[in-house]
Symmetry: C2
Subunit: 126 residues, 2 copies
């Protein structure tokens, strides 16, 4: 499947802010990498380019994941949940997903133990 | 680890509605089962009982997952993301997570193809 052939054939429900929750998962290992949000434009750009784009809620702008770090996410598969209000993005993650340098943003247990794999030093990347 | 020993040692950020996003993942297979939301009370009940509780946005009530179907989720591990605004729940899923009868709520590709495993007939369960 070519990356630019993704289509959405299922009605999606965006929330009151025009956003839909997106979970990125490593397509090979199954590791959950991050949770972020897309608006319709971010999804359109993701489908068009095959590279994941989100909507940054903190910066209120379209956010090509990896635009600063080079740690882009290439889409392998997109799944939609039963309610149509969440997406599961199976991706190939270049470098680490997390801005802290870890492979996954979920690098800590609730207790605070660090269990994630650190791949880079953010001071050298950003 | 006993199920009732989970603690949250990391500050969490709830959104304007008092909710935090929670992703449930099968602790053995890595399959992402569902995305839902917790308020502080749902999280407290989850920590206390070791059984996942969410906040139902559609019903505006505390929701013990599986309360009708018996398809409960037993917590194995809770991870917190870098921003403290999303939880990853590694769970043992009894039966199917999805009210449609599938193991995972993400049983469809964006194209609409059914790829999930159907475990039960909802008409017989609800």
């Amino acid at each position: 499947m070519k990356n630019n052939t993704f289509k959405i054939g299922i009605p999606l429900k965006y929330d009151d802010n025009g956003l839909i929750t997106a979970v990125a998962q490593d397509h090979l290992t199954g590791e959950v990498l991050m949770v972020a949000y897309m608006n319709a434009e971010a999804l359109r750009m993701t489908l068009k380019t095959g590279i994941v784009h989100y909507w940054s809620r903190s910066r209120s702008k379209l956010w090509k994941k990896g635009e600063s770090s080079g740690h882009v996410q290439t889409v392998k598969e997109i799944l939609v949940d039963c309610d149509g209000d969440a997406l599961l993005l199976k991706v190939e993650q270049k470098g680490g997903a997390c801005h802290t340098g870890y492979k996954s943003c979920f690098y800590r247990t609730a207790d605070g133990d660090i269990i994630g794999e650190r791949l880079f030093d953010p001071d050298e990347v950003y």
